[in-house]
Amino acid sequence: MSSEGFYQEFEVFSKRTVTSPIQYQFSLLAPNRDLALIMAQENFMRREPVADIWVVKRSEIRKLSPEEKQSLKRLDNKDYRNTKGYGYLRKKWRQYEQGILDEKEILSWGGVKKNEQD
């Protein structure tokens, strides 16, 4: 046991439904993670559905410093990574009387009916 004080900072994350991604909520102060957990829901989600809660001690999070955020910038010259760079295929396939396999088409192959999706 180390004496770190009653006011430890915890970051709170939650999922709205079982299928939703985890989402950041807010931070709270608590002496430890078990108490942080039992206070989290009513502090930040008392008016919305919630399917899961995570609390993370802030000191355990490695964040980018303001300077390091410079590392996030990049040039807009990477269309070879995106479908944007392959748009001409639509025309090509038309010549062969085929449709393009775009995102909408491919993601429809999962066999999940529309009304079963989120």
């Binding site: 006011y7 807010f26 931070s27 709270l28 502090n43 303001p66």
Partner: protein, 319 residues
């Protein structure tokens, strides 16, 4: 800013220019970003006062939580006062992160409150002697709070703007909770109607004071210039007060209630509400903790803080 990547020292002037450029372009400042000292100080002062006012603001209504006249009203006002505490939580977290580099914590905020260094909002020094006051606080005091808080929804400081977004969403419930109590009373017996009218009469001056003096000439200091310069807020105190009149006076009158100011009217030519100024010297006294309930409420807050100290001491150790 490429210099920063190479760890080149930027002069304070360069940092300042970059900061101003960012907020001018509508970018949000985050807790660990560089910011001018007076920006940090202004924010700490503003947000810790805002936060502690929510915590102190729970007290005037608290009296009416156990006394509310029906189960539904008991539940509604409990939820409302719970939100005040919750808003205090959100705001104090924002203030605490700003204070962290200065080595200050929530403990300091509480101590500053008890010592009188940290002020709380003038309305929360006032008496709330009837159930009508509980309704009026929910209706008009929260109405005024909504006007002043929505004015800062686009504040240049990101964490504050995000906290305000959560708060304003809940204020919609507060506004309707207050209206619901007031309309029930206004449509009720003559005794109930009198409760509302008395509450309006009692609170009118405090409501005028809510937005602060129009300019520094009234009370000597005003932070409004700094907060506008740094894009924390957009409107002046007087503009907010006028907005409040425009939104709420027609509603008050529509219920057959009156405003205790015979001079009050809308001047079409000037396009503004004309009203009798409150006693601003009294305002200064009130926020110096010399209001009718200042001492009592501070004592209540301090008593419970000390009564519960053993809990915080006991769990001082990280597990």
């Amino acid at each position: 800013m490429s210099k920063a990547i190479f760890n080149e020292k930027l002069t304070n002037e360069e940092k300042y220019d970059h900061f101003i450029k960012r907020i001018t372009e509508g970018e949000k400042i985050e807790a660990d970003d560089w910011m001018p000292d007076d920006y940090r100080e202004t924010l700490i002062k503003l947000i810790s006062m805002h936060g502690i006012s929510e915590i102190m603001g729970a007290l005037p209504e608290k009296e009416w939580v156990p006394k509310a006249p029906s189960l539904r009203r008991k539940l509604g006002i409990m939820a409302k006062v719970q939100d005040e505490m919750g808003h205090g939580q959100l705001l104090l977290r924002v203030a605490e992160d700003l204070m962290k580099p200065l080595g200050r914590t929530r403990e300091n905020i509480m101590q500053d409150l008890f010592s009188g260094r940290l002020k709380f909002h003038n309305v929360f020094h006032m008496e709330a002697p009837t159930w009508g006051d509980a309704g009026l606080i929910g209706w008009l005091v929260d109405g005024a709070a909504i006007i002043s808080q929505t004015n800062m929804l686009d504040a240049s400081y990101g964490p504050y703007a995000r906290a305000l977004k959560r708060i304003c969403a809940e204020e919609v419930f507060h506004a309707q909770h207050g209206e619901s109590i007031i309309i029930a009373l206004a449509e009720g017996t003559s005794e109930q109607r009198k409760m509302v009218q008395d509450a309006i009469n009692r609170w009118w001056e405090a409501l005028l004071m809510f937005f602060g003096p129009a300019d520094a000439t009234t009370t000597g200091t005003s932070k409004q210039d700094t907060t506008i310069k740094y894009r924390i807020r957009t409107k002046t105190n007087e503009e907010l007060r006028q907005d409040f009149f425009t939104k709420y006076i027609p509603r008050v009158l529509s219920l057959g209630l009156t405003i205790p100011d015979e001079t009050m009217h809308f001047n079409q030519e000037k396009q503004q509400w004309i009203y009798e100024q409150p006693d601003w010297s009294r305002f200064k006294e009130i926020i110096r903790n010399n209001g009718p309930k200042s001492r009592e409420r501070l004592e209540l807050r301090e008593t419970t803080y000390h009564e519960n100290q053993w809990v915080r001491n006991a769990l001082n150790m990280a597990k």
